[in-house]
């Protein structure tokens, strides 16, 4: 079965269309197609010629477009590579800057850690020394009181004012001596720590607060699990080694003790 229209009929229609177009062009005032185009009889031969030329053009175009397509693909790959490179330049520079700063940050962190530890020890020492001091004074005072009470009445009357003055001196010393020195020492220590804190703030270094919080695996390493019914499971009960953020990223994981699952 052939559905193709009759060739002669098709050519006749095409010829009519060409004539009509030519007429339309001619009717466009001063512009005359006839002046430019030689009168040629449109026949099957000419048409085949034109179609062959057209086919050749299409082939050429296809070839060119294939070439373009290949070139586009290559360009796309190079662009991807360029984008990769572009993407990596800034992060690489940033990474290099961060890498260079890391030892300094680590040093600041180590200093902060040491100062916090040192303060804790001084506070403990203050508490212990003042308490011990107080206990010792109390003991001496008790011994003096006992000694005073065991004296005969006439001697008590004689040394009474001296005994009262001694008690006052002890009372005064038990309240103030040592405490002032320690308080002053701790105040100075506070100033050092505050200065470091300011530097840390400027450099976006933040010490993590872990105790009494739930163990967060994104910033804390649980190094020991304890059984403590006073706290809920997973709660941090002690900070073994403090953790730090730098520029809102974890710089060092905190090492903590947490309550195990029940």
């Amino acid at each position: 079965m052939n559905d193709w229209p009759d060739h002669e009929q098709l050519l006749s229609r095409f010829r009519d269309w060409l004539t009509q177009t030519q007429a339309e062009c001619a009717s466009l005032d001063e512009y005359s197609v006839e002046d430019e185009l030689p009168h040629e009889k449109v026949g099957l031969y000419q048409l085949t010629e034109q179609l062959t030329a057209l086919r050749h053009d299409v082939k050429l175009l296809t070839k060119t477009s294939r070439g373009l397509e290949e070139r586009n693909e290559a360009t796309l790959l190079s662009m991807n590579a360029a984008i990769d490179q572009f993407r990596t330049v800034t992060p690489q520079q940033e990474a290099a800057a961060q890498e260079a700063a890391r030892p300094l940050v680590a040093a600041i962190i180590a200093l902060d850690e040491s100062l916090v530890r040192g303060r804790r020890v001084i506070e403990q020492a203050r508490r212990r020394i003042l308490e011990d001091w107080h206990v010792e004074l109390q003991e001496v005072r008790n011994r003096l009181d006992t000694l005073y009470r065991t004296q005969p009445w006439w001697r008590r009357a004689l040394i009474g004012p001296w005994h009262r003055a001694t008690r006052d001196v002890y009372a005064e010393h038990s309240l103030n001596t040592g405490r002032d020195i320690f308080d002053s020492l701790l105040e100075g220590y506070d100033l050092i720590q505050n200065r470091l804190q300011r530097t840390m703030q400027e450099q976006a270094i933040v010490r993590m607060q872990c105790v009494a919080k739930q163990a967060d695996p994104h910033c804390m390493t649980v190094v020991e699990v304890v059984n403590d019914p006073a706290h809920p499971p997973g709660a941090v009960v002690e900070e073994v080694r403090p953790g730090y953020y730098w520029n809102e990223n974890v710089f060092r994981f905190a090492e903590v003790k947490a309550v195990g699952q029940r």
Binding site: H218, V222, V223, V225
Partner: protein, 429 residues
């Protein structure tokens, strides 16, 4: 060029590398080049991979899986929360995380990968690794042996036959392999190892040494207090690194503990020689494996072209020295021993993609650097003795320190002459 990921799927840590502009790059995230090979679920059932999973191991072991590589290829399943998972599924989570890391860094998805496995892995274990890659959405273009990958970083396209000894001393495991390369064909001739020996043992030995010494001086065992133990462990890890470059390291930890209310400080000097004496028996074990590996490959040491060190613990100078003494060959550590396996996998990927790649480029000292000093030269006391300070093939920049003493009492001046070369007599350098 198509990008192919090079993945080192390790027992403890994993890493991913790519080839860019003909060079190998390790893809890092948050300043971390390695990803702990640990997978877990948090208390709300969210998936954790890497550091967060590792961090919760002690608290929630039932929700955390580590060292899954040891189970690859077995039919055993592991419990992750309420779910039973195959080793492939767990490994797939790690591989997917590495793939996503690459995606974030490159800004586009990469689907192809070369994955490394230990040389001793069976076909079943290799197939399981390939399956894990596919589960992670990767097209595994090749599975290669870890020593093969390491050797590719030094010699991707050898013209003539080359035989390499790859000495891999990681954190927890040790293995040694003899690899033969010829015209693009890489063959592992033999492989030996110890799955229970690694750098962590060195830390443990040094920590015990420090704690024993402290106990002898102060009658307090620092290992009994978790806080003190953790501080000592961190301090000895740092000291161990320092001892790779310096003859002595100071361990100084203030207020480490207290005794009857009196604060005690840890202030100790560790000589490299002391540390080396501690770890020598362990290294002797590794040398026995080296001997066995050579004998299995039916080769003599002089038939090996080069020795490559892999794994962080192989940075220890004593490892270089002992291997050099046993094999009489130069030891290569130019490429970062922690990352050379993943870099080698990326090189393999590059070769598959049709790239013409050379070895990983690292600036090194081509000759040994040292100074002239008075010492024993051919059995005689000589002022022309060459004291080696920086070994040849050391990656740059490099800093090394050594201790020298003056030649006579009350000496006020010294003249330091620097030489490069390999001759023990400086006049020939």
């Amino acid at each position: 060029m198509e990008t192919i990921l090079g993945i080192d799927l390790g027992t403890t840590n994993s890493a991913v590398s790519i080839i860019r502009d003909g060079q190998t790059f390790v893809i890092e995230e948050d300043g971390q080049q390695s990803l702990p090979s640990v997978v877990g679920l948090d208390s709300e059932g969210k998936l954790l991979v890497g550091f967060p999973a590792r961090n919760q191991w002690a608290l929630a072991p039932e929700r955390t899986v580590r060292s899954i590589k040891r189970k690859m290829g077995s039919s055993e399943t592991v419990q992750l929360g309420s779910q039973a998972c195959t080793p492939q599924e767990i490994s797939a989570i790690i591989l997917r995380t590495l793939k996503e890391r690459a995606h974030r860094q490159l800004g586009r998805e990469v689907r192809k990968a070369v994955i490394t496995v230990p040389a001793f892995f069976t076909e079943q274990q290799r197939e399981a690794t390939r399956e894990a890659g596919e589960l992670a959405g990767l097209e595994v273009v090749r599975i290669i042996n870890e020593p093969t990958a390491a050797s590719l970083t030094y010699s991707p396209n050898p013209d003539k036959l080359e035989r390499l000894l790859v000495y891999d001393l990681g954190g927890g495991t040790f293995d040694v392999s003899i690899v033969q390369l010829e015209q693009g064909v890489v063959e592992v001739l033999s492989s030996h190892g110890d799955t229970q020996l690694g750098g962590d043992d060195f830390d443990e030995l040094l920590m015990n040494h420090v704690c024993d010494k402290f106990q002898a001086d102060n009658d307090v065992d620092l290992r009994a207090t978790p806080t003190a133990k953790s501080r000592v462990l961190n301090a000895v890890e740092e000291a161990k690194k320092q001892l790779s470059f310096e003859p002595l390291a100071n361990i100084q930890e203030e207020f480490i503990t207290e005794k009857a209310g009196m604060p005690l400080h840890l202030n100790m000097e560790i000589m490299r020689s002391d540390y080396e004496r501690l770890i020598e028996p362990l290294l002797e074990k590794t040398l026995r494996s080296v001997g066995e590996s050579l004998s299995d490959a039916k080769l003599l040491a002089n038939q090996i072209d080069r020795v490559i060190l892999v794994g962080g613990a192989s940075r220890t100078p004593l490892v270089h020295r002992m291997l050099h003494e046993q094999l009489g060959l130069p030891i290569h550590t130019e490429v970062d021993p922690d990352l050379c396996v993943s870099m080698g996998a990326a090189i393999q990927g590059g070769l598959i993609a049709g790239l013409d790649l050379g070895p990983v480029l690292v600036d090194i000292t081509p000759h040994t650097l040292g100074i002239a000093c008075i010492g024993d030269l051919n059995g005689h006391r000589s002022p022309f003795c060459f004291a080696e300070i920086i070994d040849r093939n050391t990656p740059l920049p490099a800093i090394r320190t050594d201790i020298f003493s003056t030649s006579h009492d009350s000496q006020t001046e010294i003249n330091i002459e620097v030489f490069q070369g390999e001759d023990p007599d400086v006049r020939h350098n």
